[in-house]
């Protein structure tokens, strides 16, 4: 009897919730369902931007495109490529997780609104800010989208002296005395601990001293005063894992909630192994500039000097004080593919409290190509 009552109650509650959800849907649910909530007319410039933002978040490209005031200037495909990239890269597989709308200026007929988008990518959040011009026509506000058309690389042949290393390791059938190929020789050339509010950070640099490419990573173990391990952490992605001969990468290892005063010594373990690798693409880092606080950052542009498209680029910046000691390591994933000879900007944030100590920097780029050899 009790079971029957429970099942009837659950069925009733389900029906009631379905009816409530249908009559008064949440904003995001309505957007995903292309409901009326975000297709009505906007009474303010901010509302017009918000509606377009929700439609972008719902990936309702046709609905967002149809609301734009300047859609005659570009196609829907170009609008979509502007937001999700024409070439496969981090943005291709990203979704708009949130956005902010800030009014900059407004009159009766037009307005300027800052539209800050936060995309969720496979390597973390990626931010993009656009200043939108919003115009009033026929009594409703419409967004003029500042299209950034994807650069088109003209058809051409780019000759490349392709340089590549392949590895043949020993096999299980070899005699036990048979030699294997030596692992690459790498060395930590600098290491420095830093106490931050969130915990202890270890930074440094690793060089590949060998004549072959290396896959590298660095692990650190903190030891207490009685020589007991406090914790072990690795550099994860705050390192350029592939190092060509004589190439140097910074690394950064985080130990959350650990105090430097508890640490007696650190055991660093660089790891290296052979990998098949290619020497291309070559990426130039142009116009590197250290911007002071507030909003301290390292900015610049990446230019792919090779013919192969680099789908994902990871920029690592090493920041030094006047004595040449590493004071910070920052990084940023560039969410647009690097096309040949097409500059793409990057911006590495520098913590405000460290910005004053920094007098020089060095940037390196790690690239990944989809479907290519490496």
């Amino acid at each position: 009897m009790t079971g029957r009552l429970l099942s009837v109650s659950l069925a009733g509650a389900t029906v009631v919730l379905v009816v409530i959800g249908t009559i008064w849907p949440s904003k995001s649910a309505a957007a995903y369902a292309s409901g009326e909530q975000f297709t009505g007319s906007a009474s303010t410039p901010e509302a017009a931007v918000r509606i377009v933002g929700e439609q972008i978040r719902a990936q309702a490209w046709d609905a967002a495109y149809s609301r734009l005031a300047n859609k005659a200037e570009f196609t829907e495909d170009e609008f979509r490529s502007d937001l999700t990239s024409a070439y496969p890269d981090l943005r291709t597989y990203a979704t708009l997780s949130s956005f902010e709308v800030q009014p900059l200026h407004a009159s009766n007929t037009d307005a300027e609104v800052r539209f800050k988008m936060q995309w969720s990518t496979v390597v973390g959040p990626s931010r993009d800010t656009r200043d939108l011009h919003v115009v009033k026509s026929d009594g409703k506000w419409q967004v003029e989208w500042p299209i950034q058309k994807a650069p088109v690389v003209p058809p051409q042949v780019i000759p490349v002296n392709y340089l590549r290393w392949d590895v043949i390791n020993r096999t299980a059938g070899d005699d036990w005395g048979a030699q294997d190929v030596e692992a690459p020789h790498v060395r930590i050339v600098d290491m420095h601990p830093l106490q931050r509010a969130e915990g202890l950070v270890l930074m440094g640099e690793v060089i590949n001293e060998d004549v072959i490419p290396a896959y590298v990573s660095v692990t650190a173990t903190l030891l207490s005063k009685d020589q007991k391990p406090i914790g072990t952490e690795g550099s994860f992605d705050q390192i350029s894992h592939q190092l060509l001969p004589k190439q140097i990468t910074p690394f950064l290892i985080r130990f959350p909630n650990v105090s430097l005063s508890d640490v007696e010594s650190v055991r660093m373990t660089p790891f290296s192994t052979l990998i098949s690798a290619s020497a291309d693409p070559v990426i130039e880092i142009e116009n590197e500039r250290l911007n002071p606080a507030p909003d301290a950052s390292l900015t610049g542009q990446l230019t792919n000097q090779s013919g192969q498209i680099a789908n994902v680029a990871h920029v690592l910046g090493t920041f030094y004080d006047q004595s040449g000691q590493v004071v910070w390591v920052g990084d940023e994933y560039v969410d647009h593919a690097l096309l040949p000879q097409t500059p793409v900007s990057f911006n590495i944030h520098i913590p405000e409290d460290l910005a004053r100590k920094i007098s020089s920097e060095r940037a390196v780029v790690a690239t990944y190509s989809f479907g290519g050899a490496d």
């Binding site: 002296n161 340089l163 290393w165 005699d175 036990w176 005395g177 030699q179 294997d180 190929v181 030596e182 050339v189 060089i207 001293e209 060998d210 004549v211 072959i212 490419p213 060509l244 001969p245 004589k246 190439q247 140097i248 020497a279 291309d280 070559v282 990426i283 130039e284 880092i285 142009e286 116009n287 590197e288 500039r289 250290l290 610049g300 000097q305 920097e361 060095r362 940037a363 390196v364 780029v365």
Partner: protein, 287 residues
């Protein structure tokens, strides 16, 4: 049999040869691995002979008073073998030492490292283990010859006596790069390894600059180490251009011995070149 089994267990447990009071067992004290031998047990009647050794076990029904032959290859693992005879009412025990064949048939050669920089003192280590045809380590002293040959730098030879079956040596890497043949030899048996001697750090790094359209083309001279070896392709050379408060850098791998890149042509810019921790020359661009 009543006497035999506890007797055999006791002998196995104690690890010593046991001898019964009324049966004599005539065994060879020492034989070479794989050679034929025979065993004679005094007495009359039948018995069971057990031979237990490293990785081998033989059980044979024998006639007491007659020699029992074992063919070549019956015992081939070197070591001490325990022998027991079990017959009605009596038992006997002894041991046979099987030693490696004195002729080397195989050589296991460990050479390290497989890759190292040129001109390193005692940088190469070779260790040889000498085995007979049955895979037994030959512990008798023998002479092993180690030869490291480079097509341009000649051959280094070391002759080393084995100790307990092992011989080892250290050799210098040569000043010339290349794939050296590292051979360990004993008689007509040899084992070959390849030691790849690679150039060291770039010794002198020098670039030149020429205008190229609106840019500067930078090219290094062929990059060599301090022994004159060409630094291998793929080695990264870093070009850095400092122009007032901005900087441009590019990591370029050597290709065909040189690194080449185009960078922005900024009047008054200072361009430097480096590879790893080695610095090259600087150019100030005034055009």
């Amino acid at each position: 049999m009543k006497v035999g089994v506890p007797f055999l267990v006791a002998c196995l447990a104690s690890g010593v040869a046991c001898r019964s009071q009324d049966t004599n067992l005539h065994l060879p004290k020492r034989i070479e691995a794989g050679s034929a031998f025979s065993v004679l047990c005094e007495g009359t009647g039948k018995g069971t002979l057990y031979i237990v050794g490293p990785s081998e076990f033989i059980k044979r029904e024998i006639q007491l008073g007659e020699a029992t032959s074992f063919p070549a290859g019956a015992l081939f693992n070197a070591g001490r073998y325990s022998v027991w005879l079990d017959s009605a009412g009596s038992s006997a025990a002894g041991s046979i030492d099987v030693v490696p064949v004195s002729k080397a048939s195989d050589l296991t050669f460990i050479a390290k490292p497989s890759r190292l920089q040129v001109a390193l003192r005692d940088g190469i280590t070779g260790t040889a283990y000498v085995f007979d045809a049955y895979g037994n380590l030959i512990t008798e002293q023998m002479e092993v010859s180690f030869e490291l040959s480079n097509p341009t730098a000649g051959t280094q030879i070391r002759r080393v006596q084995t100790r307990n079956g092992v011989a080892w040596t250290q050799l210098d890497s040569t000043p010339r790069e290349g794939k050296d043949q590292f051979v360990a030899r004993i008689g007509d048996i040899f084992s070959k390894r390849v030691v790849f001697q690679v150039p060291g750090e770039p010794c002198s790094l020098k670039m030149s600059a020429t205008p190229s359209g609106g840019k500067i083309q930078l090219v290094t001279e062929p990059v060599r180490d301090c022994s004159g070896n060409v630094v291998p392709d793929g080695t990264v050379v870093t070009f850095t251009e400092l122009n007032r408060d901005t900087k441009s850098t590019v990591d370029v791998p050597l290709k065909k011995g040189v690194a080449m890149v185009e960078m922005p042509a900024n009047r008054g810019a200072t361009i430097s070149v480096a590879s790893g921790v080695v610095l090259g020359n600087q150019i100030r661009w005034e055009q």
